[in-house]
Symmetry: C2
Subunit: 249 residues, 2 copies
């Protein structure tokens, strides 16, 4: 089981083999065992297998081919809609139309997603997270008919692996762990912690191909640009408003 976690790699190519329903139910069940605030379970998982729906979801994920190719696409949502309906039916006035409740529900959804990932990998499946979910939430809401109180947070594609990529590099453990309190980084700490990463040949080639001077510039100028981040930030804040999570008064 440590092995399952330690051997995680994102899988973007899948064999045609379908995922048996029993396996799907099992990994979804594993999802529901994740911790959830106050046992409210304020999340939902949309399981999409239909080609036409995957086709509609594809542009929401910048047409990454695994969305159409994976047998399963799971969209994990922050969801206070179900809980609010229950409250209203039980003479209780829900007060969950605010930013804190959104974050609470997003946390729920993400812990479920990671449980599903690990259970899936343990069952021999490969998974890939799609960070694009929060960039294009408005379109996903349309495609999946998400009502007020529901916001998509992340997406997993799942299927039997048809590739075995190398383990991805990680910064040394001391880069991300702080003892007792936060120990802020000096310039020489940063030099040391990123040194090994910057020596990786494939990254060096990536820098060259993109006509950049440094690996960091590939992130700031190409992969995760300020102008995109600002656009997506404002879209996402609008979506929180529209879905009823910004009535903070």
């Amino acid at each position: 089981m440590f092995d399952t976690i330690l051997n995680h790699r994102s899988i973007r190519k899948y064999t045609g083999e379908p995922v048996p329903n029993a396996v799907l139910d099992y990994i979804l069940e594993a999802g529901t065992r994740a911790s959830t605030t106050g046992n409210m379970q304020v999340y939902s998982v949309i399981v999409s297998t239909d080609d036409s729906i995957k086709e509609e979801l594809s542009p929401c994920h910048f047409n990454q081919p695994m969305v159409k190719e994976a047998p399963l696409v799971l969209t994990f949502c922050a969801d206070f809609n179900r809980f609010n309906k229950w409250c209203s039916l039980r003479k209780a006035e829900p007060g969950y139309d605010n930013f804190l409740s959104f974050m609470t529900a997003a946390i729920d959804a993400l812990l479920v997603a990671q449980n599903v990932s690990i259970a899936a990998e343990d069952a021999g499946l490969g998974i890939c997270y799609l960070g694009t979910t929060i960039y294009t939430a408005e379109k996903i809401i349309e495609v999946l008919d998400l009502p007020k109180g529901v916001v998509p947070i992340t997406t997993l594609t799942l299927g039997y692996p048809d590739e075995k990529p190398e383990l991805t590099d990680r910064l040394p453990l001391e880069a991300v762990i702080h003892r007792e309190k936060y120990n802020d980084y000096s310039d020489s700490d940063i030099e040391n912690l990123y040194h090994e990463k910057e020596l990786i040949k494939s990254y060096q080639e990536f820098v060259k191909e993109n006509n950049k001077e440094t690996l960091a510039q590939v992130f700031t100028d190409i992969r995760y640009k300020k102008s995109d981040n600002i656009l997506f930030s404002n879209n996402l804040l609008d979506i929180l408003q529209k879905q009823g999570f910004m009535n903070n008064q």
Copy 2:
């Protein structure tokens, strides 16, 4: 390993036995294998073991006794500080001072937290999530010296279990899973899906003890009140501004 996930229960009482460093390093290593957007690893984990720091953290978690009693308190943070420093040292202009980047980093932090949880449970430890982290982020930032670009998202207490509570009830799987698209709930769906939960004796006693008419009212009027949610929402949005995540222009 399915067993580890399926047998999860929150553990709030711990034996005095300390967690060996090798076990701690192993579960933290497991944390770093979680998926992370663009392999940026925009999170940090603060490992607090010192009694005086746990004492300071205790009121941030509404004085729940496990904060002082657990041998380990782990605070998982969204962290663009390290990445931004690297960019600045590498002639790259970071554009990560916005809400999207906050959400990206929060997602990273939560996937790490759930990996750590499962690895810890698999190693025989018990864990408990503290949802209070986002309610009192400002105070936690002070206690743990978190710089700009860093926001605490969730906290785990960990130690060897000194209790074995019953598994927590969950809604039936069909309550949280939707096939293909979102299937919104009719009143009778809600009745059916919450029926079993409402019959649980301990909940019925809880309703009576609190002089409420329904279980839902215990949530809306006592446990997760609108007035608290609004206060915490505004505090959290202020914190995002202060920590440099709301420059969406």
